[in-house]
């Protein structure tokens, strides 16, 4: 059974149809890239999958591990193992990152019928992940994402992914706002999390992220539909020819 199965997905935002019939199948452990120009529906797809308010599915279905994902609340999706790495992680002043991480982890564990972690057990896991990802302790003592640089925010997303151990990670324009060094660091973190039982949907405008997170499959999204699919070479072709040519050729 595929981890994610999207069939003829249509979705509207404020009554306007943005997704116009998406079809996508992802197997366990696969990394798929979705590329597309601005306005093609990339972020809408990530929000529809994670359950944000205001995104209405009007047709089609999304099965996650065989279950109807669209029927689940955002927190239930996260608990079931769907993780969205935000393009713009939200700054939440007054909520210490550590408090947040512990509550998130325990919410997920509780929902999965696992024992909640006490402060000591939690810290042990967090410290290990911080070390693996070379994140300084100082960051988790601050208020969540508050005053973090663009690079720090994205690393915090990767840290959360490492701690919540999702089966499906959706990376929404993880490269946006990062310089090349920060991009490498974040990509290293993501690559370290690649696993046989973890699929990744990498959403990006630019090919350069895919130099570091190498996908198994590449899809081109245009005007709310996947118009072309291929292997990693498709990303290079896009980089060379630009979206306009590819979109025109596929039309």
């Amino acid at each position: 059974m595929n981890i994610l199965s999207i069939k003829d997905l249509h979705a509207t935002v404020d009554g306007k149809e943005i997704l116009k019939g998406i079809n996508l199948e992802m197997g366990a452990g696969e990394v798929h890239a979705i590329m597309g120009p601005n306005g093609s529906g990339k972020s809408t797809l990530s929000y529809v999958l994670s359950g944000r308010d205001g995104y209405e599915v009007t047709k089609g279905e999304v099965l996650y591990k065989g279950e109807n994902l669209m029927k689940m609340l955002p927190e239930e999706r996260a608990q079931a193992g769907v993780f969205l790495a935000f393009q713009y992680p939200v700054e939440i002043p007054g909520v210490p990152t550590v408090t947040f991480l512990k509550q998130a982890m325990n919410s997920v564990r509780k929902a999965r019928g696992e024992k909640e972690l006490d402060a000591f057990e939690f810290k042990k896991i967090m410290d290990a992940r911080l070390k693996e990802l070379s994140i300084v302790n100082d960051m988790v003592r601050r208020a969540l994402n508050t005053g973090f640089s663009g690079g720090e925010k994205k690393r915090m997303e990767v840290l959360q992914m490492a701690m919540l151990e999702p089966s499906l990670a959706i990376l929404d324009e993880t490269d946006s706002g990062l310089d090349i060094d920060a991009l490498k660091t974040v990509a290293d973190g993501v690559n370290a999390l690649r696993a046989e039982d973890r699929s990744m949907l990498v959403i990006t405008h630019y090919q350069r992220l895919l130099d570091y997170i190498v996908p198994d499959h590449v899809h081109v999204l245009s005007a709310g539909r996947i118009i072309l699919s291929g292997d990693k070479s498709l990303a290079l072709e896009l980089e060379e020819k630009g979206y306009a040519d590819i979109v025109a050729a596929a039309a």
């Binding site: 939200v90 909520v95 947040f100 997920v108």
Partner: protein
């Protein structure tokens, strides 16, 4: 017509007054008589009285109140961890309860007595202060309190003395089915260089009662009073508190008031910064649900140069609750180099909740730094989604955000143990447990 019925609040006054503590002593009788006279003239405020425009007392006057019975025996004080073991005075339905109180071990020279006893033991001390700080003016509830002047807490701290452990004053409402009113009067006098920490808890489980407290506070040169208050009265109770402070040179007054209880509550603080270098920090949080009305009304009078004041009040209002914040700052002509800052922020957790915020700055001096800001907002939808997208259920996510918001005010409490005690009370409110 600015007066409405007095809700029987002076009912059977003559018959009861003769039995009040200190009756027959000329100055006490005189003080009470003044209160009666003034209250007869003023009655209770309607919303046409400018200062009472936003708080509706109609439910208060719907039925008459009688005087409260003496303390019943089957009451207890729920624990609150204040760090150090406090000195404790407990009042049940306005009457001092010796059995629940423990004032032993206070340093020599300190006067710390229930007011009724102080009327006998320290009459000269009381006479020189009572009614002189909380003057009657056009203050309806001060007049009423003065008419029924009976019990409360009197504290005097001599020159240069610091009382290390907090003094805890617990006012418990336990009236059963009787509709009753009481009027505690507190007097705190700190001599030059003295320091003390007072924690007031106004609590009750059930009952329809009016707790009408007046506190008179005199801070001599260089003294400091840390004054923390928790208002967690019974759901049908009315709580009106008037705190009046005179601060001399370099004196510091810190107040934090956390309001979670009562049907209608009004917390009024007025401070006169009378001599240079004095300062005050007035902070608080109001957390409402149901149909609660929680009113914070402050007046900071900068009457001398080089004084500082700051105010941070935050509210979270759910369901049909209503908050009121009226913050007036007066900077008189001679009060040069005044530094005054006021901030009031309210989070509305439901479409039906509301807040009226009225900052008022009256500045007559020209060399001052003053600011004020009032904001009203809702929980940040983006933040909520972010937390939920990490598996945190909606109610818990809301809780995290509300805590974070209210913490911004609670963080101002200077005493670490008391800060944590108030923080846990605020958290408990979220779970519906307070």
């Amino acid at each position: 017509m600015n007066a409405m019925t007095d809700a029987g609040l002076l009912k059977d006054y003559e018959a009861n007054a003769a039995a009040l503590p200190g009756a027959g002593s000329g100055w006490v009788d005189g003080l009470r008589k003044g209160g009666v006279h003034r209250f007869e003239g003023l009655g209770l405020p309607t919303r046409r009285v400018e200062e009472w425009k936003y708080t509706d007392l109609r439910t208060l006057v719907s039925d008459p109140f009688g005087p409260a019975d003496a303390a019943s025996d089957d009451v207890s004080v729920p624990d609150m961890d204040l760090g150090a073991e406090p000195y404790r005075a407990v009042f049940v339905n306005g009457h001092f309860h010796a059995g629940l109180s423990d004032l032993s071990g206070l340093p020599d020279g300190v006067v710390a007595l229930p007011l009724a006893q102080a009327m006998q033991d320290s009459a000269a001390f009381l006479e020189s202060y009572l009614g002189r700080i909380a003057t009657l003016g056009r203050r309806h509830f001060v007049a009423l309190n003065t008419a029924w002047l009976a019990d409360g807490f009197a504290l005097y701290v001599p020159d240069g003395m610091t009382i290390e452990r907090p003094i805890e004053l617990v006012f418990i409402g336990a009236t059963g089915d009787t509709r009753a009113a009481w009027h505690p009067r507190n007097l705190f006098v700190l001599h030059p260089g003295a320091q003390a920490t007072i924690v007031e808890r106004h609590i009750g489980e059930t009952g329809t009662y009016l707790a009408n407290t007046v506190a008179e506070i005199v801070l001599a040169t260089g003294s400091r009073l840390n004054h923390f208050k928790l208002q967690d009265e019974a759901p049908d109770a009315f709580h009106v508190a008037t705190t009046q402070i005179h601060a001399s040179a370099d004196a510091i007054y810190e107040n934090f008031t956390l309001m979670t209880g009562s049907s209608v509550a009004r917390n009024q603080i007025a401070i006169e910064l009378q001599a240079s270098g004095s300062s005050c920090m007035l902070n608080g949080a109001y957390l409402g649900r149901g149909k609660q009305q929680l009113d914070t009304t402050t007046l900071i009078d900068h009457a001398a140069p080089d004084c500082k004041s700051s105010e941070i009040y935050k509210g979270a209002l759910d369901e049909r609750s209503k908050g009121v914040f009226q913050g007036r700052i007066v900077v008189r002509k001679d009060a040069q180099r005044t530094n005054g800052h006021q901030s009031n922020k309210t989070l509305l957790l439901s479409d039906k909740a509301e807040v009226d915020a009225k900052p008022e700055l009256e500045i007559y001096a020209d060399d001052v730094v003053c600011s004020h800001g009032a904001t009203v907002g809702e929980l940040d939808e983006h933040a909520l989604f972010y937390l939920r997208a990490r598996g945190i259920p909606l109610e818990e996510a809301r809780g995290l955000l509300i805590d974070a918001f209210v913490d911004g005010a609670i963080d101002e409490i200077s005493n670490a143990a008391i800060r944590e005690a108030f923080r846990s009370h605020a958290k408990a409110w979220q779970g519906g447990n307070s």
